[in-house]
């Protein structure tokens, strides 16, 4: 059976809860998302940001207080979960403990009244796809975390859902397995081309698997884009700090010349291209400089002077903490051999390219990058 690939549109959806201490709060507030057919979209954010609530509303496990949800052209807002034709992978896997691996995977097919032949073949195929051929008669209690996760994935995809939904599926697994399984999830999704919404709080995971990422904060989507968009052009301090690591440096606008802004910071003048519109001289701003964008030179080579406070040796790379004009900066350098390691207390100079600097107004999230 073939299922047409459809997009998912979340249109101004809100969900309120009564909180014990804070009174009524928004778990999701006017959330808008447009997931294209076949796309892998990730909802990324810290715990309590509303990403799981949003996902559960897409699934039909929660009903929004306001807004609509569309699968393709169909309004599914009032459709219960069992009528939406979704595949959902839970954080705790939610395998049926009284059923074997085979029967767990077959469950959705049996509900759909498939014949035994079809079930036998489909379950066999999908178990082979997730690398669990031969596990048919096992029970969930006998499986490792990674195996349980694969069964959960198999159970979700065997019904050929219109939309595949993941709620932090890897958070109960150890680091190495997480990396391996996220790749497998991505491969399976690509192969089947199912429109997918994935929830995680792990920015690296989000960047590794997604076509696009929507960053959520306090119930709202604060920025949406590819991993590169979010990393290089964060719209707010929150996104900048949540996606990757940053140096935040306070500064003041000196002048805007053409497409570039000159800013007084770190005791010198720094030029940047990526800045909000309408900045006037004297405006306070925040500069965002990624640790890997800062280059290190011998003392005196560059106008910016800094001192090494400490360093961490991480094998493939080194992380330095520097003191520069009263600010603390993080710098990451790839390990270029034992001679290149800079000792603690050494004085050095720094440089970074104009386009490595992002300017945000003090209020952060208000301004969109130009």
């Amino acid at each position: 059976m073939t299922v047409e690939t459809i997009g998912v549109r979340v249109d101004g959806v809100s969900k309120r809860y009564a909180h014990r201490v804070k009174g009524e709060i928004y778990a999701a507030r006017d959330v808008r998302l447009d997931v294209r057919p076949g796309e892998f979209l990730t909802l990324l954010g810290p715990s309590g940001c509303g990403k799981t609530t949003t996902l559960r509303m897409i699934a039909g496990y929660e009903k929004p207080d306001a807004g609509r949800i569309f699968f393709g052209g169909q309004d599914v807002t009032d459709l219960p979960a069992n009528k939406r034709n979704i595949g959902f992978v839970f954080q705790n896997y939610a395998l049926f403990p009284h059923l074997s691996v085979f029967e767990n995977v077959a469950y959705g097919l049996r509900v759909r009244g498939q014949t035994d032949d079809v079930i036998q073949k489909s379950v066999g195929d999908v178990l082979a796809l997730v690398g669990l051929a031969g596990y048919e008669q096992q029970f969930s209690g006998q499986l490792s975390g990674g195996e349980q996760q694969r069964v959960a994935l198999a159970r979700a995809i065997v019904i050929r859902p219109r939309v595949l939904l993941f709620d932090e599926p890897l958070s109960n697994l150890d680091a190495k397995l997480r990396v391996q399984l996220r790749q497998e999830i991505r491969d399976v999704q690509r192969r089947l081309g199912i429109t997918t919404v994935y929830v995680t709080h792990d920015q690296e995971e989000a960047m590794a698997v997604s076509d696009r990422i929507a960053v959520m904060h306090q119930g709202s989507v604060v920025q949406e884009g590819t991993a590169e968009d979010l990393y290089y052009r964060p719209a707010s301090q929150f996104v900048a700090q949540f996606v990757g690591r940053v140096n935040l440096v306070a500064g003041r606008v000196v002048e805007t010349v053409g497409g570039r802004v000159n800013i007084a910071a770190l005791g010198t003048t720094i030029s940047a291209r990526s800045a909000p519109r309408g900045l006037a001289p004297g405006d306070p701003v925040q500069l965002i400089i990624r640790p890997e964008a800062i280059e290190v030179a011998r003392a005196g080579e560059e106008p910016l002077t800094a001192m090494v406070v400490s360093r961490s040796f991480l094998g493939e790379k080194l992380e330095y903490l520097l003191r520069c004009a009263g600010e603390t900066l993080q710098v990451v350098r790839y390990n270029a051999g034992p001679e290149a390691v800079i000792p603690d207390g050494a004085t050095i100079s720094l440089r970074f390219a104009e386009d490595a600097v992002t300017v945000l107004t003090e209020r952060g999230g208000d301004g969109r990058p130009t």
Partner: protein
């Protein structure tokens, strides 16, 4: 998900309320009415008569004293067994022996230890008369009642405390040890404090059990140590004074109710350790030195030995002509119970056989509805369903007797009244098991089923129901066992038409035909063990995790 009106749920709720009203609320109301209304006028004369009668006041204090002592002693022995089982690093075989010794009193008819006490310490007792040559000691009184009740009820404390001790995170104790505390200090400052809510709970359960116990004092208390349940029984069967019996029930009800409320709303919320049913997945803390372990083992072995001796004695008494007088082998007593006693056996099996499936169904249905469905008054329904379970059987029996004596609800003399009594008195175990199991089942399981396209009916049938089947069988088992062994409520409800083995045992004891009484007791123990084994086998077919073990349900 939203709550849609489901006609099946509405009907079930309505039917259950009607049944609860008829078999729980109405009898209790009738009991109060009988006590307080005389020929249409309100009077406290009946109550006043009880409250001013010196004998009855003595009985009240005696009941409290006995319950207090049984609570303390039973909790201590229960803790001893639980600690030894949880922390003694016993080999599997010894654990099984320990469990079996504990299980025995729980599944026995109520008089078993009492009969064994008389055989051992009575006028012609094996120990007092034959062994020690004592002639003037009397077995009747506080000491032997206490001894017998502690042996009968300490397993409840064991079953309450053992899961608690097992569930304590051994890292917490290991941490204390690493901070320099000795094993004994760890026990005193960590293990014991964490167990205190459990100890309080066990104490209250034992207190309630002793307060409600009717059979043991009837046989062993004698004339100098009267307690309330037996007084109420004598008031009704001896003096045909229903109002006096009702008033005595009321006096008994107050401490029973206080204990129930304390246990449910105070102690149970003070647990530090949550028992999830999942194993902690780590080795238990090595909390006993070899010396301490030996002491614990010897102490447990002594208690277990007494239990085994009592049951061996019972078996022996059932196959000799007259214990203490003529020890020739005979099957005469069994011939008697299978001829004269056949009707009681048949009646008991019919009643237990009917009460079992109905009680199991009632438990699972009510437990499911109050946990999973939102409807007005569901908390109240759960509470009301617990009333007959929490009240001493004497009260329930007298209430049923008063309520169903007259048309249009004239049920006295029928099997129905006994069956209803068992369902609403012992079905709540199934309710509690169902609620406990449902609370352990993560809601994502039902959501997963729903997400895969299953409607709520299919989800219930294919996911929820199989997962709560263990609770159904556990509830079933408890109703059956109690139907075979209970007497406190149903002694008021038997008739010429329908009688029970337990009542027959009591008759035999009062007629001093101890041989047939012993034979009856052995028969009941055997039947109950066979049924438990069968149910255990069925339960093993379900692979649900965290399934409530059968033994943990016998406690209440």
């Amino acid at each position: 998900m939203g709550m849609r009106k489901d006609p099946a749920v509405t009907t079930a709720v309505f039917v259950l309320w009607a049944l609860l009203a008829l078999f729980v609320v109405y009898p209790l109301a009738a009991l109060f009415a009988r006590m307080l209304v005389d020929h249409g006028t309100f009077t406290t004369a009946g109550l006043a008569a009880v409250l001013t009668d010196r004998h009855q006041i003595r009985a009240f204090w005696n009941s409290l004293l006995l319950a207090l002592l049984v609570g303390i002693a039973g909790t201590m022995i229960g803790f001893l067994f639980a600690f030894t089982a949880a922390r003694g690093r016993l080999p599997r075989v010894l654990l099984t022996v320990l469990d079996a010794a504990v299980l025995l009193p729980l599944v026995s008819p109520p008089f078993t230890t009492a009969i064994a006490m008389i055989f051992s310490f009575g006028p012609r007792g094996l120990i007092t008369y034959d062994l020690l040559g004592l002639k003037s000691v009397t077995v009747y009184g506080l000491t032997s009642t206490l001894f017998s009740e502690v042996l009968t009820y300490f397993p409840i404390a064991y079953l309450t405390l053992r899961p608690l001790l097992t569930a304590i995170d051994s890292n917490v104790e290991g941490m204390a040890l690493s901070l320099g505390a000795s094993r004994w200090r760890v026990f005193r400052t960590v293990t014991l404090p964490l167990t205190i809510p459990g100890l309080a709970n066990a104490f209250l359960l034992l207190f309630a059990a002793s307060l409600a116990d009717f059979a043991t004092p009837l046989i062993l208390a004698g004339n100098d140590f009267q307690v309330l349940p037996t007084q109420a029984y004598l008031q009704i069967t001896g003096l045909f004074d229903l109002r006096g019996g009702a008033a005595l029930s009321f006096v008994l009800l107050l401490p029973a109710l206080a204990v129930f409320l304390l246990q449910r709303y105070w102690v149970s919320r003070r647990y530090y350790v949550t028992i999830t049913g999942k194993g902690a997945g780590q080795a238990p803390f090595d909390s006993t030195s070899p010396g301490a372990r030996a002491v614990l083992l010897v102490a447990c072995a002594l208690v277990a030995l007494v239990i085994v001796y009592f049951y061996a004695l019972l078996l022996y008494a059932s196959v000799v002509v007259a214990l203490g007088a003529n020890h020739a082998f005979t099957l005469q007593h069994y011939r008697v119970i299978f001829t004269d006693g056949l009707k009681a056996i048949r009646d008991t099996l019919i009643i237990a056989g009917l009460a079992m499936p109905l009680g199991g169904l009632y438990g699972i249905l009510l437990g499911y509805l109050v946990t999973k469905k939102a409807f007005p008054g569901r908390r109240t329904m759960e509470l009301v369903s617990m009333i007959n379970y929490a009240l001493p059987g004497t009260i329930v029996g007298i209430a049923y007797l008063i309520a169903f004596n007259d048309p249009p609800l004239e049920l006295t003399g029928t099997a129905l009244i006994i069956i209803a009594c068992y369902i609403f008195r012992y079905g709540p175990t199934g309710i509690r098991a169902t609620v406990a199991l449902l609370q352990q089942i993560d809601k994502s399981l039902e959501e997963a089923s729903q997400g895969l396209g299953a409607g709520s009916g299919t989800t219930f049938r294919r996911v929820t129901l199989p997962l709560i089947m263990p609770a159904f069988f556990a509830g079933l088992g408890v109703v059956f066992i109690r139907s075979m062994t209970a007497i406190s409520a149903t002694i008021f409800l038997v008739s010429i038409g329908w009688t029970l083995i337990t009542v027959k045992i009591l008759e035999n004891i009062t007629e001093l035909s101890l041989g047939p009484a012993a034979a009856f007791s052995v028969l009941v123990v055997v039947i109950v063990f066979v049924v438990i084994a069968l149910i255990g086998r069925v339960l093993r077919l379900f692979r649900a995790p965290g399934a409530v073990p059968m033994t943990s349900l016998l406690g209440g």
